[in-house]
Symmetry: C2
Subunit: 168 residues, 2 copies
DNA sequence: CCGAATTTTCGAAATATTTCGAAAATTCGG
DNA sequence: CCGAATTTTCGAAATATTTCGAAAATTCGG
């Protein structure tokens, strides 16, 4: 495989993985492009390489900055904004984890809390089944959320120390 | 809050979480409905409660069975098929993890392997940056995949024993 | 503070995904 | 093996998401 093929291929692969993750294709592709670029690129360079419109490019570049996986950099004597991807994959993973927690876990937890003080008639099988299942889900989701939170803050618990060592 | 509101509310919440997870709304809602139902339901009952069409209901019910989070059950003396959700939340989580691994990690790993035997000219900054980043990503993704695999097989490693205990 | 360069916004078009519902296929009791 | 009950398929319609590209807004060197 040629280098330029490989690069195209990687951008494409990262892009389709993005869609599986609920990230739109352009956003993931821009991220891929910046990840493998040796230095920061301008919006125009991204547009050119990816054949995307100005609006779309701008939107997604800002979203990436918002997630924290891409940084704006300014070069002196140049009015243009340059964009540079965070190259430390562990940090990228943490930031992605953080976003996913926000989008996938938090809203659910918010809802689950509401059922806590629901008066349940234990003699009604419908109500009992509901209360049991939702109670289980709540307990479990809270645990998972706690795990995420710890992974994100990289708090030095004994457990996480071990896990992170395993990942390095 | 009334019970029937709570139920509606939960189905709705689980549904919108589903869309964040890349699962379509109907599929997640059917799952929610079956989760909180005291016994198995027929496709017609699902259609009725969720106001979904026959085709859509059938499609998603089968998808849920495919994932393993819902089981078909047959009642004697009744030709209809009944559907019942797996109520053990830990097991549900494992099955979902498994699907996500398949959709989110495996295709990427497949691609990453291809760059392994790419001849890289270290003097070309573009090529060097590409090789470095992709190499990192590959190493990391493999680690994460290994973690998933272990969680799924619930293999009794010391580490996982501890983690799972934490989740219970 | 002017004006060119650059970034952002926004409605419309394109695309992708989901859902509907009728028709076809299958199943199974009698 | 017939036929009603049930499930599945499938193309079309509805909906949701993404992308485009022109126009508006902003920025900043001179």
């Amino acid at each position: 495989m040629e280098f330029s093929d490989a690069k195209q291929n990687f951008i494409q692969a990262w892009g389709s993985m993005g869609t599986e993750w609920g990230i739109n294709r352009t956003m993931a592709q821009i991220h891929a492009l910046l990840l493998v670029a040796p230095q920061a690129l301008t919006a125009d360079q991204v547009m050119e390489e990816l054949k995307t419109s100005r609006g779309n490019t701008n939107l997604n570049l800002r979203e990436l900055v918002d997630w924290g996986v891409v940084k704006k950099v300014n070069k002196l004597g140049d009015r243009k904004e340059y964009f540079e991807a965070l190259k430390d994959i562990h940090k990228v993973a943490i930031l992605i984890l953080k976003e996913r927690r926000k989008r996938e876990l938090e809203p659910l937890l918010q809802h689950l809390k509401d059922y806590k003080d629901l008066k349940v008639n234990k003699n009604n099988p419908d109500e009992k089944a509901f209360a049991d299942t939702v109670g289980d889900i709540e307990k479990f989701t809270n645990k998972v959320d706690g795990l995420f939170a710890k992974a994100i803050s990289a708090e030095e618990s004994w457990l996480w120390g071990t896990l992170i060592k395993f990942l390095k």
